[in-house]
């Protein structure tokens, strides 16, 4: 997990206020931790207050079955989706489902193996922040968010398809 000190958020480089923790993390009283889904599920009752206060984030994997496991998901201030490698495109669909079907409006973070050249697509699928691999030049990468100013399809950031907007 990257957990870099700087992330891209809402198009700008900013301090990373969050930290992904592992499955066996024990101190759940910390603020700003991002918990794997299973860890949250096991401690749901005691954490729900702090989730609604925006102090706990949730980490989802690409194979997370949102249809069966979505309860309370919209309450988080931040959901991070882990990309095990940049060729694994499942997170693009998970993101759209969170935004378009499960009412998630908080910070949606792409975490891990995505590359700069995917930022534009990721943004269109609803991601608002990016915690990239440490060796990526984040200042240069942020420019790639603007690779395209138009797209044919509907997307989270442009919910009307081009064919309905064409004059």
């Amino acid at each position: 997990m990257p957990n870099n000190t700087l992330v891209i958020k809402d198009g700008k480089i900013t301090d990373n206020l969050w930290k992904i923790v592992s499955e066996d993390h024990s101190d759940l009283t910390q603020d700003g931790i991002i918990l794997p889904y299973s860890l949250w599920l096991a401690n749901q009752n005691e954490l729900s207050q702090r989730v609604s206060e925006g102090k706990i984030g949730l980490l989802l994997e690409g194979d997370h079955n949102l249809q069966e496991q979505n309860e309370g998901i919209a309450d988080f201030a931040l959901i991070a989706i882990n990309f095990p490698g940049f060729m694994d495109g499942r997170g693009f669909s998970v993101a759209r489902l969170l935004r378009e079907r499960y009412g998630f409006t908080g910070e949606l973070r792409a975490s891990g193996g995505v590359i700069r050249d995917q930022l534009c697509y990721l943004q269109r699928c609803g991601f608002s922040s990016f915690d990239l691999d440490a060796d990526i030049n984040i200042e240069a990468a942020v420019e790639s968010l603007n690779d395209f100013s138009e797209g044919y399809q509907i997307s989270v950031d442009l919910p009307t398809p081009l064919f309905r907007r064409r004059a």
Partner: protein, 552 residues
């Protein structure tokens, strides 16, 4: 033909700027080779055995004379003066410099062409019927829907990193020239009993390592729901398709693993959320796209008189008569015909065209066919709108340019991938096998007598030469570092889709012409009157061919 508006130009221009930056970062060492790889593939660029290879999309096979002339110029300025028509209607350059590719893409964009998603684990160029819009038996012209799909699939933000490549084919005709049953999605445009247009949706077909005939997932999808339904299929695949093994990653494997009923259920459940959303097609958009494919300015012609004239010339000219018999297709408009320009004279790699030939095709298209041509999946070119009264004149010009080999649909009209001469995936060469067969069967009377035979050659099991659906399929295999060839019989890419059966152990390169001769003899000895090769095979089965091929 579709024409770009400022939006289309802007999207393609930004795409080229993005790729130019990526290429510069790669060449400066900033972008790792393994990260550049999928980015360059999604811009059409492979790195092959000898040089990079650039695959340029010809959307559903439609190309105009301006584009042909630009391609000719590009092959001269950036390559070795020739190009290659692929089995998915695209055009490949075999020798461009990697650093030149952004410039080539910019030159293509000027004539409204691109190479976006011609490779990689994404939605590829949508293919169609080379006789779309003119075929006599066609119900509905599929091209407006192909263009709608082209735009939807281009830079789709959710589906650029699929488990594996994804190919869609569309036809509006019962005679299936687009092989819709062996695509990831095959769409047949149909009309229901109420006269409404929609699609029969077939999913999970494909060739390659594990050939599968697609399964019917929906009998009738209303046209307005096309894109939301495609989104649903792709989303189910993107989330559930296997990513642990690239040989099991195509959607056909997912459909098999789930069973088609379960797969269809998942798609319908996903679609229930998307149906009637913003991506639902509007009549305005359907009409806008249809307006690009209206009928050209046909003149009224007395078909009988025109045909009588052609017949009269043919009666005195046997070469012309033979060409008419093989290289012509019917046309829905009286007095017109569709003409196939043959790209497979013996000694030329199937599908290869020189820069000069591209220009001649452009000239012929301008002179005889409203300035448009089509590439075909069997690697030829079609001029779809030729007046019968001009056939003789066209034939003479085509002959002079080397396009009039009267072998369309015959044994020597071989479908063939680039094979081991060019492709780094290949186990064996394929072009020399095609040539050896063409040389062995150079007696055109014999070839005509054999009738319709699809002979398809692939240099490896990735099956770019579609060997599984050739009536005779040849597959190059590697046995301890040596090239061998396996033969399959009985495949069929038409509406009677069938996968060929393996004849038996593979043969050495030099044995192939004799083995093919034996197979053809079995056919000739066993055929009933008027029976085509594949029909005889279907009646008598594999055994007699096998017996002949392996007789001691």
């Amino acid at each position: 033909m579709y024409q770009y508006d400022p939006y289309d130009h802007q999207i393609i221009t930004q795409r080229i700027a993005q790729f130019r930056g990526q290429t510069e970062r790669y060449l400066s060492g900033e972008l790792k080779a393994e990260e550049f790889l999928p980015l360059r593939l999604q811009n059409g660029l492979y790195v092959q055995r000898l040089a990079p290879m650039l695959r340029i999309n010809v959307p559903y096979g439609m190309i105009n004379s301006t584009q042909l002339r630009r391609l000719a110029r590009i092959t001269r300025d950036y390559d070795k003066g020739y190009a290659h028509i692929t089995t998915r209607q695209n055009i490949q350059l075999n020798w461009p410099d990697l650093a030149d590719v952004p410039d080539i893409l910019a030159e293509l964009a000027e004539v409204e062409m691109h190479a976006t998603q011609s490779s990689g684990n994404c939605i590829r160029n949508t293919t169609s019927d080379q006789l779309a819009g003119v075929a006599v038996e066609e119900e509905i012209d599929p091209r407006p829907y192909c263009e709608i799909i082209r735009q939807w699939s281009t830079l789709h933000p959710e589906f650029a990193f699929l488990p594996r490549k994804f190919k869609i084919a569309v036809t509006g005709s019962n005679s299936d020239r687009a092989a819709i049953n062996v695509h990831d999605i095959g769409l047949r445009v149909i009309k229901n009993e109420q006269g409404e247009i929609g699609f029969r949706v077939i999913v999970g077909g494909g060739l390659g390592r594990t050939p599968v005939i697609g399964s019917l997932v929906r009998e009738f999808l209303p046209e307005k729901d096309l894109l939301t339904y495609l989104d649903a299929i792709l989303r189910v695949y993107n989330l559930l398709g296997r990513r642990d093994n690239k040989y099991k990653a195509r959607i056909k494997i997912l459909v098999k693993a789930l069973g088609v009923e379960k797969f269809a259920e998942l798609v319908e459940a996903e679609w229930a959320h998307l149906a009637n959303g913003e991506a639902t097609l509007t009549q305005t958009e359907i009409d806008r796209c249809k307006n690009f494919f209206t009928e050209p300015a046909y003149v009224t012609i007395d078909d009988n008189a025109a045909q009588a004239e052609v017949d009269a010339i043919a009666a005195d000219n046997i070469a012309f008569e033979k060409w008419l018999s093989r290289n012509l297709c019917g046309h829905k408009v009286p007095g017109y015909a569709a003409v196939v320009l043959a790209l497979k004279p013996t000694g030329v790699a199937p599908g290869d065209v020189t820069d000069r030939q591209l220009e001649i095709i452009a000239d012929l298209a301008d002179k005889y066919s409203f300035g448009e041509a089509r590439t075909t999946h069997d690697q030829n070119i079609v001029l779809a709108e030729v007046k019968k009264s001009e056939l003789f004149s066209l034939w003479q010009e085509a002959k002079a340019a080397g396009f009039a080999t009267p072998n369309i649909g015959t044994l020597t009209d071989v479908i063939c991938c680039p094979g081991g001469d060019f492709c780094s995936l290949a186990n064996a060469k394929s072009i020399p096998i095609a040539e050896a067969i063409q040389r062995r069967f150079d007696d055109m009377d014999y070839v005509y007598d054999l009738g319709d035979i699809d002979l398809n050659i692939s240099g490896c099991m990735n099956a770019c030469g579609h060997h599984h659906v050739g009536h005779i399929g040849i597959l190059g295999v590697d046995k301890k570092g040596k090239e061998f060839y396996q033969i399959q019989l009985g495949g069929d890419s038409s509406e009677n889709t069938a996968l060929g059966k393996v004849l038996g152990p593979a043969f050495g390169e030099t044995e192939i012409p004799d083995i093919i001769a034996g197979i053809l003899n079995v056919f000739v000895e066993n055929r009933h009157d008027g029976e085509q090769f594949v029909e005889t095979y279907n009646r008598i089965g594999l055994a007699p061919y096998k017996e002949r091929a392996y007789a001691k």
